[in-house]
Symmetry: C2
Subunit: 688 residues, 2 copies
């Protein structure tokens, strides 16, 4: 309890007393590292780590580990790509994959990897566009426009993917330039049962025994890309007590939210999300169990749902801890008191009230927004594609700065990569998802709701879903391109029930989005004012909430105490086999055949997983863990159950990040997986 | 579609054109049987079948199949008893059980079996107590009082368990007298994996391959009871096309509900229930997967949740079929038109509006009622026991007729059997269930709700659940008896956090119950008036909605067409092994070792399951299927997926009841299970 309070109290301003922080690469925690660890990273050290770090746009992190473009990440980050390779005769997600030659490396359907090349502060320019006196709606439009402009100019000048990133909920705007890789090939994945040994029961738990790894290679012009920044492989790997760094892409944290915003998460957002996740988990699991082919089709989605469910359950438990909200409230009151007594922060005085008011408006429309605009009522790939095609015709006819953000020119290549992907989509599975989500729409809005009646078109949800999936013409990539490139007139003439459905709700969906974006603008402005006050009062040595952009975290390799028991910093292969034995090999504690057969070939004392105190969250999966020398010593794949509150505040009392140890990777590749060449490439840092 | 309309149109009045009906034993469908099948059951035939039928008060049906008290039912009906026998070294539910001698038969913890001995119409006396001019609240109290009186008098006179049963939603009141058996011993159960082969994916599906059987024996004075009515075993078992009868206890149907009531089920009740079931399924499954012991503890509960979820999903799909509600509305309008033009039914004219108004009041309080009184916010055995003990002190101090219905004298023995049961309850599992349901309470009412704050007592749901389970003194049966027998003063002095919790919400819970019971009385009176009109207009040759009381259904053994494919009337053991092979034995399509080893000993052409057109619903599980000669030819265990709409209307187009064939039972007992003596007893109809 003490720790919670302390952590929550300190979280508003960063801290030299803990291993807290998801730091920006252009504002690293130099002072803390010097004070606590006597370590001073050079600019070159930072640049090398930054440019060796890779973002998976499917969600996740990775790093270059060979100058020939080899990328290391997690099996569960690669799962999306593995799933898309599967067909009724191949289940790469379950069975793993190994390209023994470059020729065997398999090109992914629609995977985009990004490497951060530079950061530029554009806060002044973004805020200057939002001139005084604009209404919130006008301000939102002006801000969207200038962001698109900045991005387009940068793209045209540099050729790099250029995204304006919002930090501190609107306190800062930075322009991130990325090198894009879209020819990404799968090199190696182990069997899911060793990558995710223990399955959902062991997910977010520790001690842990997972070989959660996956290797890709980026190509340019049909050849392995030569990358200037690749991490060297550490000989020893992570050791107890040592200082380590994590460079990756934490997805989202909510540490800077006001109490009103947190209460909204606790009372509305999380309960709604959990309901939806529970429902989807049951539907997917039940359908998947019917036969092996169904099981294959739902595999990655089911993992995603279960993973989110467990994370949200932990987050909600944190929000329901009375000590947490009390400490947040106290901290907020202190800051408000400081602000109200200081003339410099006059405009921030009622910022909290404006946020609460905006939040209340958002709450009023949130359900409809989620169902229509976020698509929870239409859980179907074909629906998503139909809507994108429909909207593209309308949006592309507008000037760049006036489009919905995903249609801006600077995002065009990424949008098309996804839209024209040849990934497999299954009609039977689409029907199950769509029928269930239409039923969810009915349950949420009521059967008699006119919109519901319009959507159902006089049919039961099951019948309607079946008809929609049967009739969709956007299933055909060529047809999709034709519609997309044809513009408004072709679209108006198109006959497709899925497009008609998207069209029939589009006015409402766009209106809801506008409402929420306008309120978000109000919150941005208020948060910017609070941030400004906080920088002045607490000092600028802080880090912003996570935004799926590159961050640097640090910490110690370190065990912890749990219910009076010491939990050691690492596990070994011996522990894996012990747990298998303790659970009598019952699923999800079964092991793939070769792992049982080749047990004796392994050095069972090899470290398998280890924990450290670094500050991570979902999205960090696949992040490299490096030592002071910048060498690769492991790869993040999870946090323990006590870390699930890290969404809201940092604590390193018992919360830990969990990694695969670098030694386990080499040992597995060599002794079990028959992948000596890959192991050799890791050690050498290049292809032989 | 045609069939749905036809069925829904005819369901209000029974029908000679289909195998519809869950008929009362004192009003059997003699006319229909004669017309359709040329069969005239004698009074003796009916009495024999009635008194050979057994109700499992844990939920389910069964029948005497030997004059030495042997009872046949389903494995999934016996599951509750099997679960309660388990401990960390024994998993009878999973592994099965076989008593080779009478001495080895295991006495159940708290299983009560009932046999219906007589039926008496007490409608006049019940309605006479509700004198004109009483308010709905007074009417409810008067009705409850006279029902308790009738029951007590009957119990005192006959010594038989006596229940006044409400039929036709209040149109008739019958006094049912039961012989009670409380010394019930387990004789035989197969492994769950052969009883429930295919698990949740195959549940409610057909073709099917389940040996869903279980045998118990009732004892009196420590010896096997001699029962005068036991079903003879058929030599051949069920044959294609033959007329069969099902005698069992359908739990609940909603065929007589008004459109307003059905819309409530569609819009409120079913969505709520499914949300709760999805949630519980995920929570139980996730916890159960953690290790074998958890899996054992949740096994029966998880089955129950999954079974309900699948049934409710099917029911909701039926309610969301626009053709169904349209046909119900049309039928209701026809009846209302007939009523409004006929002076005899003057008081019924606004009955539908009164039901709709009462339903609206109930809807307003339904959520709170479910959370507090139905206990959805406190999903814990210890909480239930604490509340029973708490209320018993208060209720037993009142005159019999003024008590909450479960505390009436005529129910005392059954209440105490349950309350003082020595069944195992597990603290860890209790904590998981209680923490989750407290979180559900928070989510449903909002964290800031004063009642929620009172319930949580300043703690998080997890912490509160842990404290409550740790502190509960009612875990000790002796302490429970002391409190129960001590009355008000002992209860007032009792220190138990679980009792304190029950006490802290008891005023609200009782008030909610009163509100709902009062509205229910309004609906009863209105339904009685509608029923009276319907009897007069359509004739009295009908059957009431199911009420977990004994009913007679009939139909033909008969296959059906599904998506253009003919589905044969029966499956065989050969089909079981074929499906195992097709699914590569992956769970839940695995088979227990001896079933694989002894495959060759079986005659694979033996019929395993079969379908018939009889009208059944949940609660009918374990019902005997008999032929014209009254011989046992099979045992009901499920309905197919098309039968899930039977809750709302009958159809025998493709809806089917699914049974275990009697031949499969003998073949399994003899060739696989090493239970020849049991098989011999079945054939001989008595112990050797």
């Amino acid at each position: 309890m003490q720790t919670v309070l302390l952590a929550a109290a300190t979280m508003t301003g960063g801290s030299a007393h803990s291993d807290e922080g998801m730091w920006l690469f252009n504002n690293p925690p130099r002072h803390i590292l010097r004070e606590r660890y006597g370590f001073e990273p050079s600019d070159a050290w930072l640049e090398h780590l930054q440019k060796a770090s890779v973002r998976f746009n499917s969600g996740g992190s990775g790093s270059f580990v060979s100058e020939d473009g080899l990328v290391a990440s997690n099996h569960h980050v690669g799962a999306d790509a593995l799933q898309k390779f599967g067909d009724k005769d191949h289940n790469y997600l379950r069975d793993g994959f190994h390209a023994r030659t470059l020729a065997e490396e398999k090109q992914c359907h629609d995977l985009e990897l990004n490497v951060l090349m530079s950061i530029e502060d554009v806060t002044g320019r973004v805020n200057a566009a939002v001139t005084p006196g604009l209404s919130a709606e006008e301000a939102f439009l002006a801000r969207r426009k200038v962001m698109a402009q900045i991005e387009k100019e940068s793209l045209d000048t540099t050729g790099l993917r250029s995204d304006v990133v919002t930090l501190y909920q609107g306190g800062l705007y930075h322009l991130y330039r990325f090198k894009r890789y879209t020819d990404v090939r799968l090199v190696f994945a182990p069997e899911q049962q060793v990558a995710f040994f223990g399955g959902d029961p062991d997910n977010f738990e520790y001690p842990r025994y997972n070989l959660d790894i996956c290797f890709f290679r980026v190509y340019e012009n049909g050849k392995p890309a030569k990358v200037p920044h690749a991490l060297r492989w550490s000989k020893a790997g992570a050791a107890d007590g040592e200082l380590v760094f994590v460079s990756g892409h934490p997805g989202r944290t909510d540490r800077m939210l006001t109490v009103a915003e947190l209460e909204y998460l606790r009372d509305v957002q999380y309960p709604y999300t959990l309901q939806l996740l529970h429902r989807r988990e049951v539907v997917l699991d039940a359908w998947g169990q019917r036969n092996a082919e169904n099981a294959r089709k739902v595999r990655d989605d089911l993992f995603g749902v279960q993973n989110s469910r467990k994370a949200r359950e932990g987050g909600l438990a944190g929000l329901l801890d009375p000590a947490f909200i009390a400490s947040k409230r106290a901290a907020e009151q202190r800051l408000r008191a400081a602000v109200s007594g200081d003339a410099r922060f006059q405009e921030a005085r009622d910022a909290w009230d404006r946020i609460a008011a905006a939040q209340a408006v958002m709450a009023e429309h949130a359900r409809m927004y989620r169902l229509l605009e976020a698509g929870h009522g239409f859980n179907s790939e074909w629906f998503g594609i139909a809507r994108t095609v429909l909207r593209a015709a309308e949006e592309h006819a507008k000037p760049d700065g006036e489009r919905l953000r995903e249609f801006r020119d600077s995002n065009r290549e990424s949008l098309e990569l996804d839209l024209f992907s040849t990934r497999p989509v299954y009609d039977d599975y689409e029907q199950v998802r769509l029928a269930d989500s239409l039923t969810w729409l009915v349950e949420q809005l009521g059967y008699s709701n006119p919109l519901v009646q319009r959507v159902l078109d006089g049919k039961s949800p099951r019948q309607r879903a079946a008809d929609l999936v049967r009739g969709a013409t956007v299933k055909d990539v060529a047809r999709r391109k034709e519609l997309y490139k044809g513009g408004k007139s072709v679209m108006a003439a198109a006959s497709d029930p899925m497009i008609d459905l998207a069209r029939s709700i589009d006015a409402e969906a766009r209106a809801l989005r506008k409402t929420l974006e306008t309120q978000d603008e109000i919150k941005r402005q208020a948060h910017a004012q609070i941030a400004k006050a906080r920088f002045a009062i607490d000092g600028a040595n802080t880090y912003p909430d996570a935004t799926f952009t590159l961050r640097l975290a640090f910490g110690q390799v370190k065990g912890y105490e749990d219910a009076g028991q010491h939990v050691p910093f690492q596990t070994t292969f011996a522990g894996l086999y012990q747990r298998w034995e303790d659970q009598q090999g019952r699923p999800p504690f079964d092991l793939p055949p070769r792992w049982l057969k080749r047990k004796n070939a392994l050095n069972l004392d090899t470290p398998l997983n280890f924990v450290c105190t670094a500050d991570i969250i979902g999205g960090n999966s696949g992040s490299p863990v490096v030592n002071r020398a910048g060498e690769f010593v492991g790869i993040i794949f999870d946090g323990n159950i006590q870390s699930l509150v890290l969404d809201f505040y940092f604590t390193d009392d018992v919360a830990r990040a969990v990694s695969v140890h670098s030694s386990a990777i080499l040992e597995s590749l060599r002794r079990v997986c028959g992948a000596r060449a890959l192991a050799d490439e890791l050690v050498a840092g290049r292809l032989k």
